[in-house]
């Protein structure tokens, strides 16, 4: 069932898939701010946990990695995901807009255009996020 017309509520969990090894710290299993940097775009993709189970969530991440691999011509690896609550996004004065397809996709927007402010927001989001490794 599509969530396109279902507004995101503060108690929802969102996933930002981690496609780069430099976007997390294996030393303490934390998410790096770079994972939440939108630049040069002013929005950022996330996937809503709502109404899907863990395996379907990972499947959506795998599809996104495959799409990136196809576009870039190189193998893009999904290392895991950064889970964050919608409330933590709203607390930074950003909005979350459903944007399907793909299923459960949403955009966080609008990030400020100034890069220093984007970095500040990305640090605050990384501080709240929880790293979940892709099961092997």
């Amino acid at each position: 069932m599509s969530l396109q017309n279902t507004p995101v509520t503060p108690n929802e969990m969102l996933a930002r898939f981690v496609f780069q090894s430099k976007h997390f710290r294996s030393s303490d299993n934390t998410v790096k701010p770079e994972c939440f940097m939108p630049h040069p775009h002013q929005d950022m993709s996330v996937t809503r946990h709502r109404d899907i189970d863990e395996s379907e969530l990972w499947k959506l991440g795998s599809n996104a990695a495959a799409e990136r691999s196809r576009k870039s011509g190189t193998q893009i690896t999904m290392y895991g995901r950064a889970d964050i609550s919608a409330k933590d996004i709203f607390d930074t004065d950003l909005n979350i807009e459903p944007s399907e397809p793909p299923k459960n996709h949403a955009n966080i927007k609008p990030f400020p255009s100034e890069k220093a402010k984007q970095k500040q927001i990305s640090q605050l989001l990384a501080l709240k996020a929880h790293l979940v490794y892709f099961p092997k």
Partner: protein, 161 residues
């Protein structure tokens, strides 16, 4: 120890380019040649070697457009150059940052203690610095340009990590 510190300072100086005439460039090339030999000869070149290795490794990952599978811009030689220069100008007592590439082609330099004690600078191919830090309840952010010296505020922020 004293000799090592002195030589490290000299090595950093050797990378300075302040003239653009043929003579100046020739002298600069000679300086680089000398400094490379110094790096190979003395153990105190270790910090410089780490800087080179980190920047080269990062550039190899993000050298083409779309390196992130999402239209990411490549890290150019200019960005590579400014990032190296910046790190060579860091006082010896400060740790070197972890590096990553930003989607806009800038190099991000991160000093990290824990998630709520972190300072990060992005540097681009014009020498523009965009920085942000969290020190528990205190937050800082701003922009400036790196020319020859690092702003004292930035040195202070890095020193807090």
């Amino acid at each position: 120890m004293t000799a090592a510190a002195t030589m490290n300072y000299s090595t950093a100086y050797l990378f300075s380019t302040q003239g653009i005439s043929a003579e100046a460039l020739s002298i600069d090339e000679s300086k680089k040649s000398i400094s490379n030999r110094l790096l190979d000869t003395f153990s105190m070149g270790e910090r410089s070697r780490i800087i080179f290795n980190r920047v080269v490794e990062l550039t190899s990952i993000a050298s083409v457009r779309g390196w992130d599978g999402y239209d990411g811009l490549p890290v150019t030689y200019g960005t590579h150059y400014y990032a190296r220069r910046f790190m060579f100008r860091l006082p010896e007592h400060l740790p070197l940052p972890e590096l990553s590439a930003d989607p806009d082609g800038a190099i991000s330099m991160e000093w990290y203690r824990m998630p709520d004690w972190i300072f990060s600078i992005s540097i681009d191919d014009t020498g523009k610095l965009d920085y942000s830090g969290i020190f528990a309840d205190k937050k800082v952010s701003g922009s400036s340009f790196f020319v020859e010296e690092i702003d004292s505020d930035i040195i202070d922020y890095i020193g807090r990590i």
